[in-house]
């Protein structure tokens, strides 16, 4: 009998706690708190790591920086990333469509691409001097290059993997070959095309940071590198955080556009 009473009592408290506390949200907040505590603890407790700035030092660095400097550097990186990204789509997308749609184009273009593609884009940094005189153009070329292959390959893959029954059905409805591309093939390939764009966005951020570290022309990569040279590590970590934030904003942006264009995919 007392067992039974205990059960009722524990149910009562469980109900109370569920009513007043959102445990799922609590756990998510705790994840951040634990991360910061662990970080601070390691810096404080382990002598070997005492050069690492604590979360508090990084936070305080936020107030020491002239806001304008960070903003200008952010803007520079953003412009370079977006310029490269859109150039990558502008040039990569039609090439991806051509390779995916035509055997002739694929035969002519694809093997050469396969030879160049395994070279990590960062390895191109020194060679860009040969293509462009202006450093700004070099950086944008690199971000473009990083976006190019993911866009080409995913557009091509999306198109060549379209279920053959869809164009067949469309043929029965009287579509001609040109309509087929715009009205059937591209919509069907859209999810994978956006997968390519998301990948491209991530890679352009990697490249812009690497290029800016080399270039001495501003941008968030330069900001981090400069603070490294003056050994101001709280600002290095702060800069890293801002780069992460910028990358996340871009990813969310592209995901949002992608979800709009493939909203038919969501099951609700």
């Amino acid at each position: 009998m007392s067992d039974h009473t205990a059960t009722i009592e524990s149910q009562f408290w469980r109900q109370i706690s569920r009513t007043f506390v959102n445990w799922s949200l609590f756990r998510q907040i705790m994840s951040f708190v634990l991360f910061l505590v662990l970080w601070s603890a390691i810096v404080v407790a382990v002598d070997y790591f005492q050069q690492i700035p604590t979360p508090k030092a990084v936070f305080m660095a936020l107030f020491e920086t002239p806001f304008k400097v960070v903003l200008v550097n952010m803007l520079k990186s953003f412009i370079r990333v977006l310029a490269g990204f859109f150039l990558g789509i502008l040039i990569g997308f039609p090439i991806g469509v051509a390779i995916g749609y035509s055997k002739v184009a694929k035969g002519l273009i694809f093997p050469a691409f396969e030879m160049v593609r395994p070279i990590p884009p960062i390895a191109w940094i020194p060679a860009t001097v040969l293509f462009f005189v202006h450093i700004e153009s070099q950086i944008i070329f690199l971000t473009f290059y990083g976006a190019f292959f993911p866009v080409v390959y995913n557009t091509m893959g999306g198109i060549s993997e379209v279920d053959i029954r869809l164009p067949r059905a469309a043929m029965s409805f009287g579509l001609n070959k040109r309509q087929m591309l715009w009205k059937v093939i591209l919509p069907a390939a859209m999810p994978q095309i956006f997968t390519g764009m998301k990948l491209a966005m991530g890679i352009t951020w990697i490249l812009v940071v690497a290029a800016e570290m080399m270039a001495n022309k501003g941008g968030m990569g330069y900001y981090v590198w400069y603070n490294h040279t003056v050994m101001d590590y709280p600002h290095v970590v702060l800069g890293m955080g801002i780069i992460g934030l910028c990358g996340a904003i871009c990813s969310i942006g592209i995901a949002w556009v992608g979800n709009y264009f493939t909203r038919w995919q969501r099951i609700f």
């Binding site: 029954r165 038919w264 099951i267």
Partner: protein, 281 residues
Amino acid sequence: MESKPDGKRQGRILIDHVEKVYDPEGVNVHACRDCNADIQPGEFAMVVGPSGCGKTTLLNAIAGFDNATGGAIYLDEEKIAAPDIVQSPGADRMVVFQGGALFPWKTVMGNITYGPVMQGKMRVNEAVKEARELMDRLGLSQEIERLYPDNLSSGMKRQVEIIRALINDPKVLLLDEPFRALDNISKGLMHEYLLSVFELTQKTIFFITHDLDEAVFLADRIFVMTTRPGTFKAVIEVDIPRPRDFRVLATERFVEIREHVKAEVEEESMKAFEAGERELA
């Protein structure tokens, strides 16, 4: 939907000594050879046969996706497949595909009105009106018209696909194992649904299946194909009166016909099995 003014019903499929040879890298594969059939206007024709016997090859030739390498196929007076013509699909022959081929980026209404709008036969609002009438007449709830296909059950997808085909007022409906992936209960419902559509529209239906119960339940005549190279070895009349419903399945006549079909198909399946045939794409 109605028969033509001269009173002559449309939708006769005449398959005349059709041959189809696939020739990948010089290896001749005979998918069909000397294939003959005469499917009457308004007939429900079921095609059964072992895997890889060329049923789908034949359907693709009728649909215009692929040509015949010998003989000819006629739809009424028109030659639709033969070595001396360039085949092309048309709205007079509508295919309901195995696994379904609704456009996932179009709503149910967008899918149904796709054909008439694309061909410029109807304006969008006319097509929508026609689609609603058809959905109403063939028992599909209009509430789903704004949904995307991914949000429908498999059975409902097939219903939408059948209506998407019928709105084009085709002479024949070509179905390639349309209910294969469905569970048995949905399948049973879809059979009765298709029968009611058939009785309402009186379209010629060319239906490929592996399911012998399905074949006997639906068909006017069952065309049994041989193993590759495919040809029709037997035509079995199903004299069970229409309209039919699920109670037919328990009748003696049904079982009798099914046994007959089974014996014919099994013989071919054994041959195919022994020859180690693989299914052709």
